[in-house]
Amino acid sequence: MTKRILFVTTNGVGLGHLTRSMAIGKRLPADCTPVVLTLSQALPIVREQGVFAEFLHSAGTVGADRMDWQLLLEHRLGELCDTYDPAVVAFDGTSPYPGLVARVLADDARAWVWTRRGMWRAGLGADALALSPLFDAIVEPGDLAAAGDRGATARVREGVHRVDPVMLCDPADALDRRAARRELGLDPDAVCVLLQLGAGQLNDVDTLRGAAASVLRAKPGVQVAVAESTIAVSRATAEALPSDVVRVRVYPLQPLLAAFDVAVTAAGYNSVHELLAARTPAVFVPNRRTQLDDQVARAQHAVAIGAARLWDDPTPEGFERAVEPLLEASTREEMRAAAPGVGNGAGDAAAVLARLAREVR
């Protein structure tokens, strides 16, 4: 008998939570079927990935009082549990919503799992962490920067299933450099630099993107590719970029990362691990305004092992200093060699959920 697993994802910046849930959902064994409840505008992406999706407005868009939205979430979760009767509900986010917690407290007919990555900013998240005992299991997607984790989850091990970093694609899915460039319409011989400065609306990164593009365009033999979010496209950005810059609007981009000699990106969980796994030299611009994610520590770790550089002075001059060495082939080769091997923990996370599902049903 098929067992369903309901994934509930928060609507964070970009697609991180949703991507991790799909990565795990797509690796469930044949007797388990994923159902994703997303709060994201990226609903079509979930469907394109062949994953069954339900949708609920996030609190900000429904126009409701936030506490009323919690009631709406609680109600919708109850309805989905009635309809699909999932053996496991897996929440991916850093802070379980009160509406979700209310369902957890009221419903012991299924296992409740909290999927939470580490690397929380120091001194934050104690309230969320206090909710841990409510869950039947906690799955922690590993972080290559875990040695520098100073956050609240760093020393919590009881009831936690830690797996390798969770990514949507495996190395076998990746195209080689030439094929990836052909797929994206990039110059096969240029030094190609990907600018992927945030996927969400939390920060306005247009200025950074423009500054970086202006520096790179002045370099002979360099081609600039700008990754646009598949869930939010700024018309202003489209107008501001020069005509010789290639736009990339692909999801998932991970299998095509070999196309790029250098990537310039925020230091979110997915971006960092996908780039390290692809051994793509990177310039990281950590987003310092996230709710909990310690992007600074993650970026600093990648820099410390020699696989990346930090852009911490948000000026064109600062960017030039950060990126200039990476335009040399020998430097890039050294950085590729420094990148650690990254296993994909999505399959192990799926196995944890499937085992719980079998215990429940």
């Binding site: 126009g63 409701a64 962490l129």
Partner: protein
Amino acid sequence: MLRRLYRHMSRRLPPALRVRATMGLLHVRRRLRARRGLVDVPGGGRPVMFVALGLDPTALAAFADDAAQARRAGLAPLVVTDCDALGLLRDRQLLFEYVPPRGDFLRAVGTDADYEAFVSSRLDRIASVYRLEERRCPQVAG
């Protein structure tokens, strides 16, 4: 007032007690909301459900225009759609609910599942949540 009280208290409570306080607040809000629906459709008019099932994005856009126009007649529209082009509704500042389309539902739940019963139940629940007493369907639905 309850929320202000909670915020005042939560600064003085350890995390576990703060969770309990939040749950208590949610319970009180649930009781208060029981008679008038969990969520108000924004706009202040008479809330009406506009059911747009089986429409492609072009037809949904036209239907959304009609629903947006209904605001001028004093209605507060909520659109229910099975089309994932939700940006069409968001662009018109319409509140909406999504129902998975038939093909997706049957693939996930099983080909012997009753999609009509699923949709009927979903519409009833949406009507209950938002206290919607009237439903309108598009004239163009095939």
